[in-house]
Subunit: 345 residues, 2 copies
DNA sequence: TTCCCGAGTGTTTGCGATAACACTCATCCC
DNA sequence: GGGATGAGTGTTATCGCAAACACTCGGGAA
């Protein structure tokens, strides 16, 4: 037993490795490896001895060594933008959950900007860490463009991407959700529906505009130019003040709940009652939506399902299975009190 | 050159390794390694040749191999609970940002429950992935208890933990924030302040109760039993209906903005005007708080700073530097319109 | 009896990088 | 001129694990 030198800090406190376990159990390292990876190939008594030794030494396999030899890390990369927002955060959470249940863990790369370069860099940060696969949550057109320039053999899956990406895509059917919201408002007797949209170049925003527009056009209603916000309550409020000036305004479909919230306040400040004078429908169904004033009618996105499906798809890709190209999750209209019948013209 | 066998899928598409770069540049692998890790030790011309080769082959170092030999992964683990909430999500985001700026990447482990076992398991999932350090965001008493049972030599830092944990702790000074909110309400002329607290055993909730109580006691005001919510708008609404029945109610301090939102609605439904009849102050300053009706006076928590500091502290611990034991970030009172002068008794 | 087979285990090798040390010169000093 | 010096580069060993292959049995078929 070597005594520590003066001042020596035992820096790596000598953690047990496979060889130590083998020795304690009186077998070879290979047998230990087998107990851990293919227990059925080891006689039960031997297995028990090995497991006891593992327990006693508190042995944990060194993943770096395993990765080096197997080429598999059991780590999934997620690149995303602004995970403080409800949508991305929920998606990330669902992915992590699904991953955990499948013995995967997840490594994240947040993006500062949404463009080709930063996407490539985020993916690069992850792949150089030897992740087995990547899920990219970046619902922006330029991110979509970035995806097109990634190596197509990368085991990747996109969430909420536009068309023409070389990977499977999972997304909520935004078009259908927006259409549902718009139809709901028309069914209440409104002559037309205004739209408070998300920022240009966000795929969700565009799809919602398209869904909204398609219903109005199909029904032959007037299509007013959408007002473009930035998803924030602030922008909803600001644009809401402009909307409140329109006196033929009776119904508004806001592209997310935060903007709807700002809108609600602007309408109230302008003396327009909701839903008596103006009806409002949002999108997302954030947990607080039911406690807006009035409670918000909105379109619920099932992020948990999106996350789960995305994980399932990367898993398939990692295993070389070619799965669906494009999976859509149905959104659901949640009727509360912010939308009512059209006031008599 | 071996021709692929029939049916053979070239499974690992032969990515370039250091030896390939070395060969192309006409040097040894060691020199390539040096160019990458200690460029000043290599003659400029050699370095240029190597870098050109790296470029040409698209070489990326294999991190697993590097980890195996250096014992350092450049990965930071973050264990947290419910990252869909604004606070944890913001903290996580700030940590990721700080990490990225220091060439670290982050791996996450979400917890399904907050107890000793799940904390240990979360930390275990991360350490077995050879993270260099861990930040634990689990502001619950039983999580704090879990921390006490972790190996104290683990390079870990806790965010928002209770006392007596064997790691440095970073947190917003909840006590001071709550005191500030309470004092603000008293300064407006209210005789006392009610409290809508967070759930029992959450360290933030407890600290806010303590801060609120300490001010009332110091000023000799009546201390009404706090109503205990669960952070959600739903619970704020429900408890708010009970509060609305108290006719000596003039001021409420809610432990977070979501509960304040529910409370606001309950008060309005009961015909109590805010701030004319009842003043409300929240906690967090979520981005929407300014668009509540009325705009919410609240206490802003600087999660970005918390995240940055936490990262700095783990970094120190990883490097063996012994830093602060407990770092507090000052919260800030943001005055908006939901709190006003006390109505004449 | 002999041979084969396969279950169970061991030995060797290699994954891709870096640490530690060895080597080669040109330079500089006395 | 001889040796010390140090900058620049190469060689070898090693990290911890698993794949591939080798070995040792005991039992059943021929």
């Amino acid at each position: 037993m070597t005594t520590p030198q003066r001042g020596d800090i035992p820096h790596r406190p000598k953690v047990a490795v496979m060889e130590d376990v083998a020795e304690l159990a009186g077998v070879s390292a290979m047998t230990v490896s087998r107990v851990l990876n293919a227990p059925e190939k080891v006689r039960p008594e031997t297995r028990a001895r090995v497991l006891a030794a593992v327990q006693e030494l508190g042995y944990r396999p060194n993943s770096a060594a395993r990765v080096l030899v197997t080429g598999r890390s059991g780590v999934l990369g997620v690149v995303s933008f602004d995970t403080t927002q409800y949508g991305p955060a929920s998606t990330l959470y669902a992915i992590e959950r699904a991953a955990r249940q499948n013995e995967y863990s997840v490594s994240i790369a947040s993006l500062d900007a949404l463009n080709r370069k930063s996407i490539a860099e985020g993916v690069g940060r992850l792949t150089s860490q030897s992740v087995d696969g990547v899920i990219i949550v970046a619902p922006h057109e330029s991110a979509t463009d970035g995806l097109r320039h990634l190596p197509p053999d990368l085991p990747a899956v996109a969430v909420d991407a536009g068309d023409g990406v070389p990977f499977p895509v999972v997304m909520v059917d935004q078009h259908a959700g927006a259409a549902r919201a718009t139809r709901h408002l028309l069914s209440l007797g409104h002559r037309t529906v205004w739209h408070l949209s998300g920022p240009a170049n966000w795929v969700d925003a565009n799809a919602r505009v398209a869904g909204w527009r398609s219903v109005l056009e199909a029904e032959g209603r007037e299509v007013r130019e959408p007002l473009v916000g930035d998803w924030s309550a602030r922008s909803g409020h600001e644009l809401g003040r402009r909307l409140a000036l329109e006196d033929d305004l009776t119904a508004v479909f806001a592209a997310n709940d935060q903007m709807a919230m700002g809108l609600l306040r602007a309408l109230r400040e302008a003396g327009r009652r909701v839903p008596e004078d103006v009806s409002v429908v949002g999108f997302d169904d954030i947990p607080e939506a039911a406690y807006f004033w009035p409670p918000l009618t909105t379109v619920r996105q099932d992020f948990a399902t999106v996350g789960r499906l995305a994980f399932q798809l990367v898993l398939d890709r990692i295993d070389g299975v070619l799965g669906e190209r494009r999976l859509k999750v149905e959104p659901e209209l949640v009727v509360r009190e912010s939308a009512g019948v059209s006031p008599p013209g």
